[in-house]
């Protein structure tokens, strides 16, 4: 086989030699395609596997950890929660609308493949600087795509994040997360149960969509390649997905399915290999039986990434009933093969075996690398000059920076109340939905602090996990488990590899401390174009619960005269990275001081205080303190005609970041009870002010309430148009 062909398939010559030696024969082009797909970073995690193994993935509530289509946790009674996050970065750069839409479609399939009904989605999206037309085009397309798919299929979007930073100029990130509800005794896995079971194809016909998409997703691609990669765009059909979802859920609840696997990246190849490997069995598939939209070669069928397709295994005797149900939903259905005892993957086309490979070589012998990595140098300590900073300018800086503004332009394009169970929509610190027909609620948040992680990957990742944790705590949601999406640049650069290794380590430390195991996730590497690596962006999606929906906190101010208290510990001015960056005090990444070490025990202690006070109904509203400090947190809490007045010795402190930082609103009559409770717990607090009507006052200086609120709410749309 010629070298060029091998390299085109994203395999190294060494990797190819391993296959060649094992098989002791030449490969068919179809077989090469299979290795290309399966030994790709996206499928076999060859760079990250060694490190991912170190993550805590289990505790008493984990029903299913990483390794299935989604993780599942136990929510008591017969309720389980399935969730996962997935990236669609490169497809969304090439064709933002369809790329992001199919990202949502893919993650929803991961959820309902497990037998779970999706009940919420979240998204985490990052773009370059808004000054370019390209960024505006990407932002519009991505938000439209995410909205279009989710709205149409009818799953509420309950939150996410949307940030802008120059390293994403040519490499925007689109991560979509989905959460589903499953009855614990009706969870479906990809492992087939019996030899001789029929392999059936369910859903849209196969076309030329996204062929090579999987290997494309792991290429370092340059501007020039863009055109060549274009034809392989996948188009989503959310209407089909809605039918597929209802059809599959009906099949599963009728007990007609043994196992199920969605056809995601690398389509029929990865789903069938996965089935064989999970069940320690073989598969035989006749490619001539695959429903096609247009004539395709065997190679193309194997690698097509057409959307809205499923592979299932059923007992022969159920064939007729399955067909009937799918007919009602107008879904294509075909028996294409069967489960064998050969432990081989066999694909036939035109009466010829085009692929005949032992499962072992594809899965167990997949490469695993221990790549070289560097640990960042220790940073020097530097004192910044704050003497020229004016409070008014600081506020203007926030109100002209997209990252601080109200994101309703984004989430108003998403349906967040469909399904009728939404309790907190986007715009609050975490999204919250009710488990249908119960009093239980699920809260979720997606977060990342790329700047922190570039400064110190290990500590920065702890802060990122803590941010999600605080987002949930602020609503009185008990954090339970994590999904994560590790978006990094090229791991072939030992500096980047170091960011990957250390942030995984930070994730591990924080997850163990918070008892929030990692139950699912995704890795997206090589996020760089033209030599510009993105900032490390390992996104955390955290899920939590409260068994009683009446105990949930709001993030919005409630009543004039109520007191405002601050919990937690302020980071010093010299060590508040976003303050330094966004107030243009530190202009270069080398200038920043190291992060202060995040005390996770302290995080837990303060969090427990918030939870206890919430249960005592002493907290009227609560918000966490993150980028933009107390000031930004207070802005987000404004509601109706309510504002605030605060006193603080150094107003710059209002913009500093925090560890375990929360703003809480307390009724005057509860103040004593709350403060003595906090004192007893050894939790420091500061009473900084109170809620007033239509005003913003800092140290008796009055600001124009309507002007600030107007800018906060409307500047986003102005800036991006």
């Amino acid at each position: 086989m010629n070298e060029e062909l091998i390299l085109q398939h994203g395999l190294t010559l060494d990797e190819f030699q391993v296959i060649r030696k094992y098989l002791n024969r030449d490969l068919s082009i179809e077989e090469l395609g299979i290795f290309s797909a399966m030994w790709n970073e996206h499928c076999c995690y060859k760079t990250s596997k060694k490190w991912l193994k170190k993550l805590p993935t289990n505790n008493e509530i984990v029903i299913q950890g990483p390794g299935e289509n989604a993780g599942v946790i136990d929510l008591q009674d017969n309720d389980g929660i399935a969730f996962k996050i997935e990236s669609h970065n490169h497809p969304s750069y090439i064709e933002p609308f369809n790329g992001s839409a199919t990202g949502v479609g893919g993650i929803l399939r991961d959820i309902f493949t497990m037998g779970a009904r999706p009940i919420a989605t979240l998204d985490s999206i990052r773009f370059g600087l808004i000054e370019t037309e390209k960024t505006k085009y990407l932002l519009n397309g991505v938000v439209h795509g995410i909205g279009h798919y989710g709205n149409c299929i009818g799953i509420p979007n309950i939150g996410g994040e949307c940030e802008f930073e120059s390293t994403y100029d040519f490499n925007n990130l689109v991560n979509a997360m989905a959460v589903g509800h499953v009855q614990k005794d009706k969870i479906f896995y990809s492992k087939p149960k019996s030899i001789g079971g029929l392999i059936v194809y369910i859903g849209s016909k196969t076309g030329k969509d996204g062929i090579h998409g999987a290997s494309m997703a792991s290429d370092v691609f340059s501007e020039e390649d863009e055109d060549e990669k274009r034809p392989s765009v996948q188009v989503g059909d959310p209407f089909m997905e809605k039918l597929l979802m209802e059809g599959c859920l009906e099949l599963m609840s009728s007990g007609l399915i043994e196992s199920m696997q969605d056809m995601g990246a690398a389509g029929i190849t990865s789903s069938s290999v996965e089935m064989a490997s999970k069940g320690n069995v073989g598969v035989y598939i006749n490619l001539d039986k695959v429903p096609l939209r247009q004539p395709l070669s065997a190679y193309e069928i194997l690698l097509s990434e057409s959307q809205e397709r499923m592979l299932a295994v059923i007992d022969k005797k159920n064939n007729h009933k399955v067909r009937e149900i799918l007919q009602k939903w107008q879904i294509d259905y075909e028996v294409i093969g069967e489960i064998t005892d050969t432990k081989r993957v066999v694909f036939e086309s035109n009466n010829k075996k085009v692929v005949d490979l032992p499962v072992e070589i594809i899965v167990n012998d997949a490469p695993e690398y221990d790549r070289e990595f560097y640990i960042p140098r220790k940073r020097k300590n530097k004192d910044f000059d704050f003497s020229k900073i004016k409070l008014e300018d600081m506020i203007i800086n926030l109100l002209t920076n997209l990252n601080y503004l109200d994101k309703s332009w984004v989430f108003d394009q998403y349906d967040s109340t469909v399904m009728g169970d939404t309790i907190r929509e986007p715009g609050q610190s975490s999204g919250i939905v009710k488990i249908h027909g119960t009093q239980k609620v699920i809260g979720a948040s997606t977060d990342c602090n790329p700047l922190y992680i570039r400064i110190n990957p290990y500590e920065g990742m702890k802060y990122t996990v803590a941010e999600s944790y605080r987002n949930l705590i602020a609503c009185n949601i008990n954090p339970l488990a994590i999904t994560n999406n590790l978006n990094f640049a090229s791991p072939l650069d030992p500096n980047i590899m170091g960011e990957l290794v250390l942030s995984i380590h930070g994730l591990k430390t924080a997850a163990i401390k918070f008892n929030t195991p990692i139950v699912s996730g995704n890795v997206s590497l090589y996020n760089q174009t033209n030599e510009i690596p993105i900032k490390p962006t390992p996104v955390v999606g955290m899920v939590g619960s409260n068994m009683n929906l009446n105990k949930i906190n709001t993030n919005k101010f409630c009543e004039i005269g109520n007191k405002i208290l601050i919990l937690g510990k302020q980071l010093s001015k010299n060590c508040s990275p976003y303050l330094l960056q966004d107030q243009k005090i530190a202009l270069n990444i080398c200038e920043f001081n190291d992060l202060e070490i995040l005390d996770l025990d302290f995080e837990k202690k303060i969090a427990n205080c918030v939870l206890e006070l919430s249960d005592l109904k002493c907290i009227m509203s609560c918000n966490d303190i993150s980028r933009g400090g107390i000031f930004s947190s207070l802005l987000k809490m404004q509601y109706r005609d309510l504002g605030f007045k605060v006193k603080i010795s150094d107003p710059i402190d209002l913009f500093c970041e925090y560890s375990a930082g929360y703003v809480i609103e307390i009724r005057s009559k509860d103040l004593e009870e709350v403060t003595s409770f906090l004192t007893k717990k050894g939790a420091e607090y500061v009473e900084i002010g109170e809620i007033i009507k239509e005003g913003i006052e800092i140290n008796s200086k009055k600001f124009d309430y309507f002007d600030i609120m107007n800018k906060y709410r409307n500047n986003f749309e102005k800036i991006i148009s």
Binding site: H144, H148, N151, G154, K242, D412, Q413, D415, V418, G420
Partner: protein, 226 residues
């Protein structure tokens, strides 16, 4: 006598379950769910055509659903002077069937709108009896094509016959625009001439339970039952 109702499900409907819960919780009566390919409809007091993206909203929202088998029965139900309520996609279907005048075209800003909106009643009918004049209701909208349009002749008819049931308005504290989607005269819902068929873009079935942000959606069912 207990209040009976039914919700029709089309392929792509996604508010059918919400509508069923809304009816079950508020009417306490019998509630049926009818698949679009059925050819008969039980005798009920109210039929809801729910929101969603019937047939993907391909071609035009509501167009293909309006040709479904069950529609003949739905029309009969309406001709029988019984209540028919189309919410969001259901409203679009009703205009496509021709039971209601006008059409719903793309929102003026060309973007999907998913947020709380505020409406008040314009002319009295059986669907809004329990709502006070000038009472502002907060109810979510979620649509791409909610921009009501009809020609001026039809508009005059709608006014003269007092067929305009709801119009968008400004909420007390919100910065929401008065006419969120650009509808003609800020129309949010209309009835037929006999006033037993109502189509509206806002979703009352997402604003009735204690945990919802507003309970104003109850008023519609309460109006019908009282």
């Amino acid at each position: 006598m207990s209040f009976k109702s039914a919700v029709i499900t089309f392929p792509g409907s996604n508010c059918d379950r919400d509508a069923l819960c809304y009816l079950k919780d508020l009417t306490k009566g019998e509630v049926h769910n009818i698949w679009h390919e059925e050819t008969s409809l039980p005798k009920v007091d109210l039929v809801i055509l729910p929101g969603g993206f019937s047939f993907g909203d391909y071609l035009r929202s509501g167009a293909m659903a309006s040709k479904s088998k069950i529609i003949d029965e739905v029309v009969k139900h309406a001709n029988d002077n019984r209540y028919l309520l189309g919410i969001c996609n259901g409203f679009q279907i009703l205009t496509e069937i021709g039971l209601l005048e006008g059409a719903l075209i793309r929102n003026k800003k060309l973007k999907f709108l998913g947020k709380n909106c505020f409406i008040k009643k314009k002319f009295k009918n059986n669907f809004n009896l329990s709502i006070k004049d000038n009472q502002i209701l907060q109810i979510p909208v979620a649509h791409n094509e909610g921009n009501f349009y009809c020609d001026s002749e039809t508009l005059n008819l709608l006014k003269n016959n007092e067929q305009i049931a709801f119009e968008y308005c400004k909420g007390e504290f919100s910065n929401t625009e008065e006419n969120i989607n650009g509808s003609l005269e800020a129309i949010a819902g209309i009835t037929n001439k006999k006033k037993n068929v109502l189509g509206m873009m806002p979703h009352p079935e997402r604003a009735y339970s204690d945990f919802h942000q507003s309970q104003d959606g109850r008023l519609i069912i309460e109006s019908l039952i009282s």
